[in-house]
Symmetry: C2
Subunit: 717 residues, 2 copies
């Protein structure tokens, strides 16, 4: 139990870090009145949007909670609500700080680049630590309560149910927040560009554009709040499901299981500490490289995590070379012997687990490096798109699509190698531990990402408030690396989903055997219902992507109409004599985004349920289970590629534009630049709406399937 207390303490430490750092950020000077006015408009818009988004989600959540209460009982419902509320809190608080740090970053950039960097990154780190801290706290507290005061065995039904329900709560919020925020941010961005840059011929972030505040609000609700909810979900699902897998698959005494199940919590805890240390290492070196400064923090965390994880593992397991966990515990032998044997082989040692976690760290490092290769301006991919822009819009888009397709190869190979290696070491449990150490760094990774919207906003505020050119140069420099760090987080999240997929599928098959031991389910690829499930699962990311892209187009259309109307009705706006009605545009995007997020978000929730009942009707329960199981893997097999191609491709397009703006291939205003702007516009909904929302979509499909099994079996907690 001590281990769980340490984990709880680390979670509290992360939250405290957030509180203390917020005070630091909020104490920084907030600039002149004009800057504060602009910031206030952004704050108001962001608050209004999130308020309405969470109200809508609350209604959906309440309906789901009632259904859960009726089918799965009180404990699951409470855990579901806890996951949902904490996910919302992480996003809301992160956004709250982000919309206050933006203006302070602009102000700090007046004096130095380091000042701006520190403020923006600290603000991101608050979100990061809240995500990891609240995630770890929620899992630890549930585990502590049920194994302590609740008097449950560590691998009891109730713990499995509660952790699954917690993950579901986090996932449900996450998909709405990712998609709603993604639609908001890109509808405002694309709409503002179309009517501002293209029609009215005014620059980006021009205060005369009525959509400019909505654009800035969008950065926060999409890249900050939406992303925080996404990573909170990924964190909870991965660490929670690792524990569930241990409970389902590993044999041992209560004490041994307690320890093994608490190990992921402790790893999460120590990595919070290494992440906090890392945040203090973000400092500009001699070369004034911002990316270099961020990497200093990131690599510090990675390197410190190696001994931290080693000692954590040793502390929990004692002798690292003793074999722990043979195949299948007593209660499982009858139903799950073959799978369990496959899952853990002849048992594994603490050292095996340590190496699996090193594989997870390695995957994190490689995914970061690969993403930088595909989206950074120093490498072939972005430069090839920039070069293709010389021959026009069409060739820019063709090359961008080619790069987006190609960018899936290396991450897939990394993931495949990681799966094989960690599986060879310790079976499915090994894969789960690799995913756990990958996610343990979430605090640091989210910090890098949440830094993006702050600097993006800071640039906008500097422009709108008419700050001197050198300030704008500094904020632009800070912003440029944001494209890469944002792409990194998305690649990281989807990579973890691929590793987690195997663990989730393992949980599904184990649940199946536990609840429906008498039904023989054939998951073999030669069962056509498996093929059917794979195909329909693979369809989901495509359909979901289509919905997301269309939603952005439609919502952007509303923005264009509103801005045109404002320009027409109030000629003073373009003359600069009267202020546009920013709030009205924010309100329109808000309504549109909320409306558009509902249907696609329900797609992954309802698909496994509908598929189950359809196949049950036309064939048998066994094949219905087989189809649903195959759907879970179909959605990851296709979703991995859709998500990586969209997020990397979008990032590459964005930076190809930036590369041209830096004076290459004719620079700003050239024909190549115009083509690159087209590519950037195409990449926007790719990388910020459809692509990143695929990650929670994959997880929610999986978790709904797990809950479906529990509900069909008549509840259990």
């Amino acid at each position: 139990m001590t281990i769980v207390y340490i984990a709880i303490a680390c979670g509290i430490l992360a939250v405290l870090y957030g509180l203390v750092t917020s005070q630091q950020v909020l104490r920084a000077p907030a600039g002149d009145q004009k800057m504060q006015d602009i910031a206030a408009a952004i704050q108001e818009g962001a608050k209004a949007y999130l308020g309405r988004q969470y109200t809508t989600i609350a209604i959906v959540g309440a309906v789901v909670a009632i259904v859960m209460f009726l089918t799965l009982g009180t404990l699951s419902t409470v855990a579901f609500l806890l996951g949902a509320v904490l996910s919302g809190v992480a996003g809301f608080v992160g956004m709250h700080i982000s919309v206050r740090a933006n203006v302070r970053t602009a102000e700090a950039a007046r004096t130095s680049l380091q000042g701006g960097l520190t403020l923006a990154f600290r603000s991101g780190a608050i979100t990061g630590m809240l995500v990891a801290g609240l995630g770890l706290l929620s899992i630890s507290l549930i585990f502590w309560y049920l194994t302590g005061p609740g008097g449950q065995e560590p691998n009891g039904e109730k713990i499995i149910h509660a952790l699954t329900a917690l993950a579901f709560g986090a996932s449900l919020i996450s998909i709405f927040a990712r998609l709603g925020g993604g639609i908001f941010t890109k509808a405002a961005d694309v709409g503002a560009d179309l009517v501002g840059k293209v029609e009215a011929g005014i620059p980006e972030d021009d205060p005369r554009n009525p959509a400019v505040i909505a654009d800035n609000v969008g950065d926060n609700v999409g890249d900050c709040a939406g992303m925080a909810a996404d990573l909170f979900e990924t964190y909870v699902v991965t660490i929670g499901l690792t524990m569930v897998s241990i409970a389902l698959l590993v044999s041992g005494t209560t004490e041994q299981l307690m320890g093994l199940m608490a190990l992921p919590l402790l790893v999460g805890g120590v990595c919070i500490i290494t992440s906090i240390i890392g945040t203090y290492m973000v400092r500009l070196g001699k070369g004034q490289s911002i990316m270099g400064a961020l990497y200093k923090g990131f690599w510090t965390t990675v390197i410190l995590s190696i001994p931290a994880i080693y000692f954590a593992t040793q502390y929990v397991l004692g002798d690292l070379n003793a074999v722990i966990g043979g195949p299948a515990d007593a209660t499982n032998v009858d139903v799950a012997a073959s799978v369990a044997a496959q899952a853990v082989g002849d048992g594994f040692t603490g050292m095996d687990l340590f190496w699996c976690m090193m594989i997870g760290l390695g995957v994190t490092g490689l995914l970061v490096w690969i993403t930088e290769y595909y989206t950074g301006t120093n490498y072939r991919p972005v430069r090839s798109i920039a070069k293709a822009s010389e021959t026009g819009h069409g060739t820019n888009v063709i090359q961008g699509l080619a790069i987006s397709l190609e960018s899936t190869a290396m991450p897939t190979i990394v993931i495949v190698v990681a799966v094989i290696a960690s599986y060879q070491l310790a079976g499915i449990i090994g894969v789960a531990f690799a995913a756990t150490s990958l996610l343990a760094l979430a605090g640091m990774v989210v910090a890098l990402d949440a830094y993006g919207p702050v600097t993006d906003n800071a640039g906008g505020i500097a422009e709108m408030a008419g700050l001197p050119d050198d300030v704008r140069t500094r904020t632009d420099a800070l912003d440029a690396v944001g494209n890469t760090t944002k792409a990194v987080t998305k690649g990281y999240a989807i990579g973890s989903a691929a590793l987690a997929a195997l663990v989730l599928f393992g949980a599904y098959t184990e649940d199946l055997k536990r609840y429906f031991g008498d039904v023989t389910v054939d998951f073999s690829l030669s069962n056509p219902f498996v093929i059917v499930g794979l195909l329909l699962g693979a369809l989901l990311p495509y359909l979901f992507g289509a919905f997301g892209m269309t939603a952005v187009g439609r919502a952007a259309g509303h923005v264009v109409e509103d801005v045109r109307a404002q320009f027409r009705d109030n000629p003073g706006i373009m003359a600069g004599t009267s202020r546009p009605n920013y709030g009205r545009t924010v309100d329109i995007v808000t309504r549109a985004a909320i409306k558009e997020m509902i249907i696609p978000s329900l797609l992954p929730v309802l698909s496994p349920i509908v598929l189950y009942f359809v196949i049950l009707t036309v064939d048998s329960q066994a094949n219905a289970f087989a189809s649903v199981g195959a759907m879970l893997l179909g959605v990851i097999v296709s979703g991995l590629f859709v998500a990586i191609s969209m997020t990397s491709g979008g990032g590459a397009w964005d930076n190809a534009k930036k590369y041209i703006e830096d004076g290459n291939h004719g620079g700003k205003g050239s024909e190549a630049h115009k083509a690159a702007v087209t590519g950037d516009t195409v990449g926007d909904p790719y990388k910020d709406t459809a692509g990143p929302a695929v990650n929670p979509m994959i997880k929610i499909t999986n978790i709904v399937a797990l809950l479906l099994l529990a509900a069909l079996a008549g509840g259990g907690g």
Copy 2:
């Protein structure tokens, strides 16, 4: 044996139809000297390209043949060469007629729309009938030879080996021809547009553009020769593998098996007759609707095929309600009992097979209808892209991508329903028969497709030869429906691949049990090596697509450079006083296309082999087999979506441009039109290079895996 003779007779009939119709087409007047000069240049270019392409393929083919001879023996090598040569013949002869029909269609369009339509469609029908006829002949002759003079049992090893090798020969040509032709056609098209329309400001098909002949050559080598090779391959693989599945899975006397295995041949035969009748029904009605005329032919064939298939089935099986084929024959029981039982259930009746074939016809009709919905100018998808063009290049591309993602949904659902329904009727054999009847209409479907390049060329020739405006109007009208019919064929080919996938996987598992009965292979989704195979298989279409798109960009770059150089060195070209060096440009595209097609074509050939040996090294042979098997399904699960989204999306972009050119959203020359041209350019390599080549890629991966098993088992024919 009578049945096989009938099938051979039908195959000969199709070839005779081709010969007689070629005479008709070639007898038609070929226009004035200027037209004939242009046509001669196209003929020369196409011949030169195909000559070099086939030479290159012959070298690869010879290497493969030697490897096959050493590992699999004489019979397989001969069958491989037969498949390869006939695939080449179908493409070459089709192209030969196509480049002569183009100028005659332009000449016929001088007098009437019907005249042009008849000539163009007849030319397409020649290719169509050659594809179906030669395909049927090759399978029938092998089957006849081995069961007759060869004295083999119908389900003997040798027949299975020979049919697989035949399919491999067809596939290997197909992937090179599809990809090489696809790169050629789009590199010439995109290059000609970039430097002609965009830089020099001269219209499409302007004779001053040195790339104009290459562009016209491209239509023939890509859409005619490449497509013919693709469909020949699809035909041979589908019908051949249906026969192989029967041999592997169904029990019965020699006579019963002979009949059942000959049924796909007879179905192919009677559908050649219904297709020939259909070609005579292509006539303009009162509404002068060209699409209507083509559909008249298509639906005539579909409707006549219903009774034709019914009577063919009855002729072969006699009592349609008698149960034939119980689970697994004697030689299989020991090794394949479970799969075979699953494959054919408690046996099936002739009526069951008839209904499966009706499902295949239904899928054909639905895929045609869905493709028309997504690519026709009368429906929401194309119109939404046209509307989005009003707000610029970016929104055109975003909406196009959204449509391309969405367009995968309905075909997937149709295929899933067809799989479930035909499986319920007669197990995997039922799915195979559904695929067979789908492919039996290939003659008609190819005719519709091969019509496209002829009318496309006719328009170009009319323009270059300066024919009167009303002639150009007629050729444009003929050409417009070509976009839809071309998309239809591609949807059809990939749809058949999805149905065939299950059959191919069934053949793989059966082969495994036959050769490696002592190796227990776990194809369950809970085996991580299955996940690894699925992920790597799913990667192949992405990587292949990236190669294809990049190749087009690179090859188009060479065209741009050459045309710029010609304009610079010879100012008389733009003045219209001297003739550009068309041949030089054709030669450059030829070299580029040949060079670019090699690496991507080898990707699916080598991937299963490499994966097998890698997994064999790190784990076991059983898991190596499992990974390779999963790769076969991964490639279809992801390839289906990549291919459909690319071909439908590309068609929609193309027709959105045409819809605007018809005077909507500002018409030709408007900003919306410029945006639509960008979308069309993006769609070009999508729909004509990367997308369609995915179909042979899927098949080749599967067949290589089958051959790998045979080779590992030490040959056998």
